[in-house]
């Protein structure tokens, strides 16, 4: 790796006053800047991430003049972890993405317990936990790109795995992205013991869409009876009357003249207005107008005059196919009832929908009589 090294160093030397960031960004190889000689302004230790090199890590650990590797200090305590911005340890994909599952187990990410995996049944949970930890800290400081180094002072001499990561100094923020996988230094993965944990790739996105998570036995602490019953509830709700469970409820949306269909999740809306806006956005030439509820409970019935306005005022109307296979005008029934019965949406020209209007208005009238049934 010497040529790049030299290259970097040269650059460093030639631009002493410039921050290390520039040096790195010029480096097409995406190498991390190394500062063995303390020549650049980089005040902190850089480490090579390109090749897996225990040696380099060791070298760095010895401490270079002016080097700053807070993560490696033996008195490193848990609380400090939080203050640093860390990257996930073993991302397979650049920066934000998942963590390599095979290496999860070995990571001692400065976990407060600092355990290493021992052969005899140390639960894989810890592997999961460790990864979770680094993952969380990534959340804490997603801008910075320094992977967390490990070196929990308490159990340095363990025969187990202590994964030492090469650190990136806090000062060097740029162009880390390419380097992630190479940052990882690890010993052989511990053989799994007989525990029944499933290790899956964990997304480091705690607040976003859920990814498959490693399941820790007995966590969260909920009685299996409860989880089984809830699962059955959702399933039954689907089966019993076609009413969907609390999950997503996607229905196809077709529009006359459009070359392809779309799908919407009805659960993401709570009123007709919201659905209308969404459909509008989706089919930009589409106008639905003021179809549906006023947003307040009890006023979800379309008045006769309103419906007429709707039909005359806009080019298109939205219709839906219900459980019985009939095509109905959207907006007649309360929202909750609508999403329970809607199987498919169709946006048709109002001229085609004229036939529906009288029926809809009559039904509206009938519904007005049964007012008490609504607003519940």
């Amino acid at each position: 790796m010497s040529p790049p090294l030299l290259g970097v160093e040269e650059e460093v030397q030639s631009s002493v006053s410039s921050p290390s960031v520039e040096c790195i960004s010029e480096n097409g190889m995406g190498l991390k800047e190394r500062n063995y000689l303390g020549l650049s302004d980089c005040s902190s230790v850089d480490s090579s991430g390109v090749s897996s090199n225990l040696n380099l890590a060791t070298e760095l650990r010895l401490g270079l003049p002016g080097s700053q590797s807070p993560e490696r200090e033996t008195e490193f305590c848990l609380l400090n972890l939080g203050k640093l911005d860390e990257k996930p340890l073993f991302p397979l994909l650049p920066s934000k993405d998942g963590i390599c599952s095979s290496s999860q187990k070995n990571v001692v990410t400065g976990n407060k317990r600092g355990f290493s995996d021992t052969m005899d049944g140390f639960s894989e949970v810890k592997g999961y936990v460790y990864t979770e930890k680094s993952w969380m800290f990534h959340e804490a400081g997603s801008d910075s790109e320094s992977p967390q180094s490990v070196g929990h002072g308490k159990y340095p001499g363990n025969s187990g795995v202590n994964v030492i990561l090469s650190t990136r100094s806090p000062g060097v923020q740029a162009s880390v992205k390419q380097d992630e996988p190479a940052n990882v230094l690890q010993e052989q993965p511990r053989a799994t013991n007989g525990t029944s944990l499933k290790q899956t790739v964990i997304s480091n996105n705690t607040t976003g869409a859920p990814a498959a998570k490693a399941q820790v036995v007995g966590w969260p602490p909920i009685r299996p009876f409860r989880t089984k019953t809830l699962a059955a509830s959702s399933k039954n709700n689907d089966e019993v009357d076609g009413k969907p469970g609390p999950g997503a409820l996607f229905v196809k949306v077709s529009m006359d003249g459009a070359p392809y269909l779309r799908k919407v999740d009805l659960r993401t809306y709570s009123t007709y207005q919201e659905l209308s806006s969404a459909l509008e956005k989706m089919f930009s030439c589409f106008t639905l107008g003021q179809c549906g509820s006023h947003g307040t409970a009890g006023k979800e019935i379309l008045s006769e005059s309103r419906l007429k306005d709707l039909l005359h005022g806009s080019e298109y109307v939205v219709t839906y196919k219900d459980k019985d296979g009939d095509w109905m005008l959207v907006g007649d029934v309360p929202w909750e009832m609508f999403i329970e019965t809607c199987k498919r949406l169709k946006i048709m020209k109002s001229s085609d929908a004229i036939g529906l209007a009288p029926r809809a208005v009559e039904k509206s009238k009938a519904n007005n009589k049964k007012e008490f049934g609504y607003g519940c």
Partner: protein, 572 residues
């Protein structure tokens, strides 16, 4: 010294009902011990292996009501293998052989076989009440035996049991002569029931106060049942799905309005949101509302329902209520004492819909709050400190952050200070469950301030043995300590083995204790059973004392090693 004849003392003791008090009474002197034991009718045994049925019978010949608990609490979370123990049969057998006139049996986390139920039903003429919570091992055949043979049965209460439902006609087995039912709860059964038999049973049970149905009971049957039992105090609705325009639904509305005594509502295992308005008339009187099995009830409809429940004291809900929904609870339910928020999607932590905000809102709005079980996405120290200030009356505080070691997301600090505030402020705290990122510091606080603490659950916490030591040294009233995945080792375990005799039990799994450490405890304390649960059977092959023990459960006992332990349980 007795100035009164025994009968007078007995009469006085009748007024002493709490188990603790009666235990204290029996320690005063031999004479009081004797009087107390002959007059004692209700006995509570928190660990079925701490005493034998024979000794129980010998001491309390007048026994009428027995409560037994079997497996350790962490068995609820799949940490204890199924056949670990907790069999009720030997108890029933022994009681049956004696002349004990058993009338009530309440079991929790025990293995109950159909044989035991059958034996139970045939052995005690006056048997009145069977309550099974989180038990397993029986089928509806066993229930049929109870129904058929217990002529004076008043209470059959099945809560969250794993029952093998043979879809038999166990309900039909209640004879026509059985008219004494006060409480019937079969919500946990998954199978069909004979609806006609159910209707007839309810019709002939004028004293029925509590009825909790399972999912298989449809709305129109519910309506008929309510018409026949307007005196109900506690109702569990199974299926609540119907067409709001139907005749049956109208009838239901009328029926519900007649039930002016309902104070407790649960179930809604299947629910149609647009039918909820029928429930509003009874909401104003509710003191207990359990919607934790109703994932179909959410959003605005849920809010509307809650807004009607101004007298609510206990609320069990799913987290799809959201922080906003909890805000509605805070505004509406000023009498709230107990709140339980369960996760609707437990294994996808990113989806948990409640955060610290919801809890803070409830604490601000409901000053009487004293019992909490809260599964949430995240928690902050600031929130916990606020909650501690708002609600100093907590007796039970169980917080479960779905991510087991998540720090305060705002400050990235551990939650030591937050929980510290809770224990410092809530001087009457008896039960505490911790989660989130925690160091030894929180245990220092617990040891210092949690003087009344009786039960503590710890997971993925602490830095060192000090954590456990703070607790063992500080919490004088500690009875149950359960720990998983913490760095507590032999040093902590062995510091004060005498302490364990003052406690009911200690559970440690995935910690740092070694076989040698456990052996040491067992040696020093013969009054304890020290069980090593080793499913992978590694212990057989490797008897090295330095080996870490995966699961250890120790408990005090008067009767030595139990004889019914399976192979993978090694009692030291």
């Amino acid at each position: 010294m007795n100035y009164f004849p025994d009968e007078v003392l007995e009469h006085v003791f009748d007024f002493i009902t709490s188990h603790k008090d009666r235990n204290s009474v029996s320690l005063v002197c031999k004479s009081w011990y004797k009087i107390e034991r002959y007059s004692r009718q209700r006995v509570f045994i928190g660990n079925c292996y701490s005493i034998s049925p024979e000794r129980l019978i010998a001491r309390f010949p007048g026994l009428k009501s027995l409560t037994l608990k079997g497996k350790p609490h962490f068995a609820d979370f799949n940490l204890v293998p199924h056949d670990w123990g907790g069999f009720v049969y030997p108890w029933i057998e022994a009681l049956a052989k004696s002349r004990i006139g058993l009338e009530e049996l309440r079991l929790k986390r025990m293995v109950v076989s159909d044989e035991s139920l059958e034996l139970l039903s045939k052995s005690f003429v006056n048997f009145k009440s069977l309550v099974l919570v989180s038990c397993e091992g029986f089928t509806t055949d066993g229930l049929a035996a109870i129904a058929a043979n217990c002529r004076f049965l008043r209470e059959l209460d099945l809560q969250e049991n794993e029952v093998d439902d043979h879809r038999g006609h166990w309900l039909s087995c209640f004879p026509e002569s059985c008219t004494s039912l006060i409480s019937l709860n079969f919500a946990c059964l998954r199978g069909e029931v004979n609806l006609g038999a159910l209707e007839r049973l309810v019709s002939r049970s004028p004293n029925l106060k509590s009825l909790r149905l399972n999912r298989a009971v449809p709305l129109d049957t519910l309506q008929k049942l309510l018409m026949r039992a307007p005196q109900l105090v506690d109702l569990g609705i199974g299926s609540y799905v119907h067409d709001p325009f139907s005749e049956a639904y109208n009838k239901l509305k009328i029926a519900i309005q007649r039930c002016k005594s309902i104070r407790s509502l649960s179930g809604f295992l299947e629910v149609a949101l647009h039918c909820m308005s029928a429930i509003y008339p009874i909401c104003g009187n509710l003191t207990f509302l359990n919607l934790s099995y109703a994932p179909g009830l959410h959003g605005n409809k849920l809010m509307k329902l809650i807004q009607h429940c101004r007298k609510l004291q206990r609320l069990w809900i799913l987290d799809c209520i959201g922080d906003k929904g909890l805000g509605v609870v805070a505004l509406t339910c000023k009498e709230l004492q107990e709140l339980r928020v369960f996760p609707s999607d437990p294994f996808e932590a990113g989806n948990a819909a409640v955060t610290e905000e919801g809890l803070v809102l409830v604490s601000a709005g409901c000053p009487k709050l004293n019992s909490l079980l809260y599964f949430c996405q995240q928690m902050t120290n600031a929130a916990l400190i606020t909650v501690a200030k708002n609600c100093p009356n907590f007796i039970r505080f169980r917080l479960c952050i779905l991510d087991p070691i998540k720090p305060d997301p705002v400050t990235n600090q551990p939650l030591d200070e937050g929980f510290g505030a809770i224990v410092q402020s809530c001087k009457g705290l008896k039960r505490l469950s911790l989660s989130g990122l925690l160091t030894d510091q929180v245990f220092l606080y617990i040891g210092m301030y949690a003087e009344q603490l009786e039960m503590l659950s710890i997971a993925f916490a602490a830095d060192s043995d000090k954590g456990m030591l703070y607790v063992l040294n500080g919490c004088k009233k500690l009875r149950k300590l359960e720990i998983r995945d913490c760095p507590f080792g032999d040093a902590a375990l062995l510091e004060d083995v005498g302490k364990y005799e003052t406690m009911r039990s200690l559970w440690m799994s995935s910690c740092e204790v070694t076989l040698g450490g456990c052996k040491s405890v067992a040696e020093k304390m013969p009054s304890l059973n020290v069980e090593i649960i080793d499913e992978s059977e590694q212990m057989e092959f490797n008897l090295d004392d330095k080996q870490k023990v995966d699961k250890m459960y120790l408990y005090r006992t008067l009767v030595g090693h139990r004889k019914d332990a399976p192979e993978y349980v090694w009692i030291l």
